[in-house]
C-alpha cells in the first residue's frame, strides 16, 4: 500500500507525519522523500547510508557533421529547448523535458543524446525502514523526472510512504500519482484552509481517496473543519498545537519522541486506510 503525504501549503507538517507513519509501523516499510527541492525527512531518521548516485536525464546534442540546419527540431520542440541561430542549432539543456521528439523528427539523424545531471538519489536503511531521497541540483528547474525516479524504489513493501513537495502543480502531482491513498496535512488558518481546498480538488481529480490531518490544532479557527464537513472529507487526526513539538522537530527529534501516544494513533491510521481500501 502506498500512502502519499501532501499538503498544498508548505510547512504544515508533511515530513513530521510521513516520518511518524513509518517509525510507528511495526513491519518493513519504505519512506520516499519526493520533496526533492528541499528534502528534509533524512534529518529525522537515524539511518545508515547505502549508496548515493547521480541522476541524469537525456538531452539532445547535435552532430554538426550530419546537421543540415533544416530547423525542424527547433520547430518541433514545445519547450523552446532548441533554436536555430545562424549556422548552428543551440541547445538549452535545462529547458528540455526529454520527450525525445527532436531526435524522432530529425530527417538527418543528427540528434544524439547526452546526459544532463539534475540531481542525486540517496538510499539508506534503518531498522525496518528503507529510505530513499532525491535531491535536486541547485539551479536545475525540473524536478518531476527525479521524483519519478525516486518513486521507482517504492514497490513491493507492506507500506510505502511518500513525503511530497508542497503546492498543487507538476511536482506535487508527480509525487502523488499512483498512490492508493493521500493524507493531506493542514493547519487551522485561512491559508491552511485555502491551500487544502486546492490540494483536495487536485487529488479528487486524480481519483485517489484522501483524508486530512489537522496539525497545530487549537487556534480557534473552524474553517478547515467546516470545509471538510461540507466536502465529506474525513479528518483522520488532529494534532494539538504544542511548542514542545516544534522545539523537538527543530533539532531533528520526531513527534514520537515528545508524544509517545502518537505511535498508536499513526498505526491506527495505517490500519484504517488499509481496511478502507480493501473494503
Amino acid at each position: 500500500m502506498t500512502v502519499a503525504v501532501a499538503s498544498g501549503k508548505g510547512g504544515t507538517g508533511k515530513t513530521t507525519v510521513a516520518v511518524a507513519l513509518v517509525l510507528s509501523y511495526d513491519r518493513n516499510s519504505v519512506l520516499l522523500d519526493c520533496d526533492v527541492e528541499e528534502p528534509n525527512a533524512g534529518f529525522f531518521l537515524r539511518s545508515k547510508s547505502i549508496k548515493k548516485e547521480e541522476f541524469s536525464v537525456p538531452v539532445p546534442v547535435i552532430d554538426a557533421a550530419k546537421c543540415n540546419l533544416c530547423g525542424r527540431c527547433a520547430d518541433f520542440c514545445s519547450f523552446n529547448a532548441l533554436a536555430l541561430a545562424g549556422s548552428k542549432i543551440l541547445v538549452f539543456r535545462d529547458l528540455c523535458h526529454s520527450c525525445g521528439g527532436c531526435s524522432l523528427i530529425c530527417p538527418q539523424n543528427a540528434v544524439m543524446e547526452e546526459k544532463n545531471i539534475i540531481g542525486e538519489i540517496h538510499s539508506a536503511e534503518s531498522d525496518k525502514i528503507f529510505f530513499v531521497e532525491g535531491t535536486l541540483k541547485i539551479g536545475k528547474a525540473m524536478s518531476p523526472p527525479l521524483i519519478r525516479e525516486v518513486k521507482k524504489y517504492g514497490k513491493g513493501e507492506n507500506l510505502t510512504v511518500i513525503d511530497c513537495p508542497p503546492g498543487n502543480s507538476c511536482p506535487m502531482i508527480t509525487a502523488v500519482r499512483g498512490a492508493d491513498y493521500v493524507v493531506l496535512v493542514t493547519e487551522p488558518t485561512p491559508f491552511g484552509r485555502h491551500d487544502l481546498s486546492l490540494a483536495a480538488e487536485t487529488v479528487s481529480e486524480m481519483k485517489i481517496p484522501l483524508g486530512v490531518i489537522l496539525n497545530r490544532y487549537g487556534s480557534g479557527y473552524k474553517g478547515v473543519e467546516e470545509f471538510c464537513e461540507k466536502r465529506g472529507i474525513e479528518i483522520i487526526l488532529k494534532i494539538d498545537e504544542d511548542i514542545k513539538i516544534a522545539q523537538a522537530q527543530s533539532e531533528g527529534k520526531t513527534i514520537l519522541d515528545v508524544c509517545p501516544e502518537m505511535k498508536d494513533k499513526m498505526c491506527g491510521i495505517v490500519d484504517k486506510i488499509q481496511k478502507g481500501l480493501t473494503k
Binding site: E37, E38, G101, T202, S250
Partner: protein, 291 residues
C-alpha cells in the same frame, strides 16, 4: 524601481504573512503574488479585482477515440507515462495531468487521431488593495507551466509599477528552489529569505543561498519564530555572516501572527505585537539597504 522577492526554501516559514506586512508598511509599491499554485496573499490584503486575463500556455494532447486504431504507438513513445490502455473500450487514453505537452504522440500517430491544442493553464488578476496595486494569479488544478505564469505575473507587476511610478515591487515567492522559484528571482534586484530555526530551515536556507548566488543577486534574510530554537538561530546568523548574507532581524514566536491571519489582516495592521514591531524593524533595515 526596485524589485524585492521574498522566498524561503522550506515552505510555511511565514513568507506570505511577512510580505503582506511589507506591502502595508511600504508606501508606493506594487505587490505581486508569485506563489501561483498556492496563492494566499489575497486572504490578508483583501484585493478588489480590476482586470483579469486568461493564461494560455503550452498545449495538451488528447486522443480522438473514433479515429484511434489502438496501435499503441503513442503509448510506447510517451516518456511521461501519460498514455494508458482502457480495457473497457479497447482504446488508448491520455491523462490530462500527466501530459507535459511535448506533442510527440500527436506528431507520430499513424491515424492522425491525436489532437494537440492550446491549454488554458490559469488566470491572472490586477487588483486594488487599500495599500496599492496587487497582481496575482491562479494556476488551474493540475496545470503545467507555473514558471511561465510567475514570469507573466512579474511582467504585469512591472508594467503597473511603471504606470504608477512605484518605488518598489514586492514579490511573494513560492517555496522550494525549482522552476517557479527560478522564474521568481531571475532578473530581480534583491532576494529576501524567510527561514525558521530548525535543521530543515537552516538546510533549506543554505540551498536558497546557493541558488541566489547562482544568479548573482544580493540576499537578505531573517529568522521567523527565532525563540523556538535560539541555538540554531545563532548558527543561521553565523552562516549569514560567513556567506555575506545581510541578516535583517529575527521575529519571535507570537500567536498574534495567526490571529491576524484569521482576522484577514496583515500582522502589522492587527496589533502592536512583538512580531509586528520586529517586522517593521526588518522592513526599515531592508529599505535602508535596497534603496
Amino acid at each position: 524601481m526596485k524589485e524585492l522577492v521574498v522566498i524561503s526554501g522550506k515552505g510555511g516559514t511565514g513568507k506570505t504573512s511577512i510580505t503582506a506586512s511589507f506591502a502595508v508598511l511600504s508606501k508606493n509599491s506594487v505587490v505581486a503574488d508569485c506563489d501561483v499554485d498556492a496563492a494566499d496573499l489575497f486572504l490578508v490584503l483583501n484585493p478588489k479585482m480590476i482586470t483579469s486575463g486568461k493564461f494560455i500556455s503550452g498545449k495538451k494532447a488528447s486522443i480522438i477515440s473514433e479515429k484511434c486504431l489502438s496501435c499503441g504507438k503513442c503509448f510506447y513513445l510517451c516518456k511521461f507515462d501519460a498514455v494508458s490502455y482502457d480495457d473497457l473500450t479497447g482504446k488508448y487514453v491520455i491523462c490530462d495531468t500527466a501530459c507535459e505537452g511535448c506533442g510527440v504522440c500527436a506528431a507520430f500517430c499513424p491515424a492522425g487521431a491525436i489532437s494537440f491544442t492550446e491549454r488554458e493553464c490559469g488566470e491572472w488578476f490586477i487588483s486594488k488593495t487599500s495599500h496599492g496595486t496587487m497582481v496575482h494569479a491562479r494556476l488551474k488544478i493540475g496545470a503545467e507551466n507555473s514558471g511561465k505564469l510567475v514570469s507573466l505575473v512579474r511582467k504585469i507587476a512591472r508594467e503597473e509599477g511603471v504606470k504608477e511610478k512605484a518605488e518598489k515591487i514586492i514579490v511573494d515567492g513560492p517555496p522550494g528552489i525549482g522552476c517557479p522559484v527560478i522564474a521568481s528571482v531571475t532578473g530581480s534586484d534583491a532576494v529576501f529569505a524567510v527561514t525558521e530555526p530548525s535543521l530543515s530551515g537552516k538546510h533549506d536556507l543554505e540551498r536558497v543561498s546557493e541558488l541566489v548566488g547562482h544568479f548573482n543577486l544580493p540576499l537578505f534574510a531573517c529568522v521567523n519564530k527565532w525563540d523556538v530554537n535560539p541555538e540554531i538561530t545563532l548558527e543561521i546568523e553565523k552562516f549569514c555572516v560567513k556567506k555575506g548574507i545581510f541578516f535583517c532581524g529575527k521575529i519571535p514566536y507570537d500567536k498574534n501572527v495567526t490571529k491576524a491571519q484569521i482576522e484577514g489582516k496583515s500582522v502589522v495592521e492587527y496589533d502592536e505585537s512583538p512580531a509586528a514591531r520586529e517586522i517593521s524593524k526588518i522592513w526599515g533595515n531592508l529599505c535602508g539597504k535596497i534603496l
